[in-house]
Symmetry: C2
Subunit: 233 residues, 2 copies
DNA sequence: GCAATAGTGTCTTTCAGACACTATATC
DNA sequence: GATATAGTGTCTGAAAGACACTATTGC
């Protein structure tokens, strides 16, 4: 592995920032001003600095673009087709990040170039494939670069990890009810779940613990509030 | 995402070529001649050319370093710590590849700089961690760069995929018996499997189909030979 | 007591592990 | 028929879905 004089590609990180809003899995998209793909929507990204670890570049992008300090952040896949950016060779390391709805809504508020778009998934199971992101009228947004494919892979990975990792906890607040957690899971999977089975699985998993406090929403029995267990990280 | 004048990092692909030999999961390692890490063992890799897709670079490395035309090849993870190569910033996209024992043994034969090293895994379950590669005397080889970590992630991914993807089929020949397939699975997982359950799972999975032919090894009942089903890809 | 949601008990089905059994080849 | 491995039937236990039931709050 000697050093070479061959031209080096540019390397970026792209962030698929996801949350669940109104029962739908949503992603934060940014409207591009400049060419190429001006007017199209893309996931936020930035160039990796020459002395910066990849995870740090993702963290920095999270702070710059969304004003967010912390999130469940995980490397997704690296895309490097030569033609994916018409200007120069750009290899992008895609990350996906999960945030509670409130955090992401705050980041979007007052920013005309940002949108929280519901994701429309046509496939089911493990095959995967590209997905569409919907605009205000329910019409699909035009995504720039290969970001429809990146989004599709993010959804696929998220669905796959739901069963064996506490990723759903990153999408609810610090305190949450089992009903909220189940709703988040159902939004991600796109199908209804069985209530007793879900509750048993969650409680037995060791990911969550009861706080002893209750949530009161109206004229009916209040729900127990849970929080992420210490070891769930 | 404008173009920039910032310095670009070098990008490489590294290949974790694995097979099962003598009941042990093994990896193809190459002894480095040059500094840094001269005398250490590393997984084969090469620079990504400026007009070359990442998958094509992995495929080319497979052909150059191991003389192999085809294998189960899958992107693993991208490693980009600034200090991982002391010469310059090198971001590497790691792939793992699975080959039948015979193919990899042929690649190593007569090459003093290549070795097929058994992998010693200390952990179990899902945590993962770095692993050791063993030399002829059973002593651990000194691995260069961050390749112990790359190897560890490859083992973790391989173990994780065993249950729901037909990866084990890439490690046996075109025709194989269920006993051979089970032995491969056991070598990867590092634990014994239940025979009836394994057979039922394999047959029900749809990944394999019976050929109608038999394998005769001695004075006992011959085993049915199977092959990968068409849809198992 | 009524309404509405929270939470649970129980039955059934499905699947994997354990174990012992039957099957089939060569000698 | 002895032997060694291939392959299967059956029991058991764990986990999930279906469904109905009980529990608790405000009004």
């Amino acid at each position: 592995m000697p050093t070479t004089d061959y031209p080096h590609p540019a390397v970026t990180v792209d962030l698929v920032l996801m949350t669940v809003h109104d029962g739908a899995l949503c992603v934060l998209l940014q409207r591009r001003e400049a060419e190429p793909f001006a007017g199209c929507w893309v996931v936020p990204g930035s160039f990796v600095r020459i002395d910066e670890p990849l995870d740090a570049a993702a963290q920095r992008t999270l702070a710059d673009k969304a004003g967010l300090a912390s999130a469940w952040l995980e490397q997704l896949y690296t895309f490097g087709e030569p033609g994916r950016d018409p200007r120069e060779r750009v290899i992008t390391v895609a990350y996906f990040a999960l945030l509670p709805e409130a955090d992401l809504a705050a980041a979007v508020a007052g920013r005309a170039d940002l949108a929280l778009a519901p994701i429309a998934v046509a496939w089911t199971g493990e095959e995967g494939g590209p997905v569409a992101a919907l605009g205000p009228g329910g019409t699909p947004l035009t995504l720039g670069f290969d970001h429809a494919r990146i989004l599709g892979l993010a959804v696929q990975r998220l669905r796959g990890k739901l069963g064996w990792a506490p990723v759903a906890l990153a999408l609810v607040g610090e305190h949450f009810t089992l009903r909220e957690l189940q709703a988040v899971n159902e939004a991600i999977l796109g199908r209804a779940l069985n209530k007793p089975a879900f509750r048993k699985r969650m409680v037995d998993s060791g990911w969550i613990e009861a706080t002893g406090e209750k949530e009161s929403r109206g004229a009916f029995r209040p729900a127990e509030l849970y929080r992420a267990a210490q070891s769930s990280n």
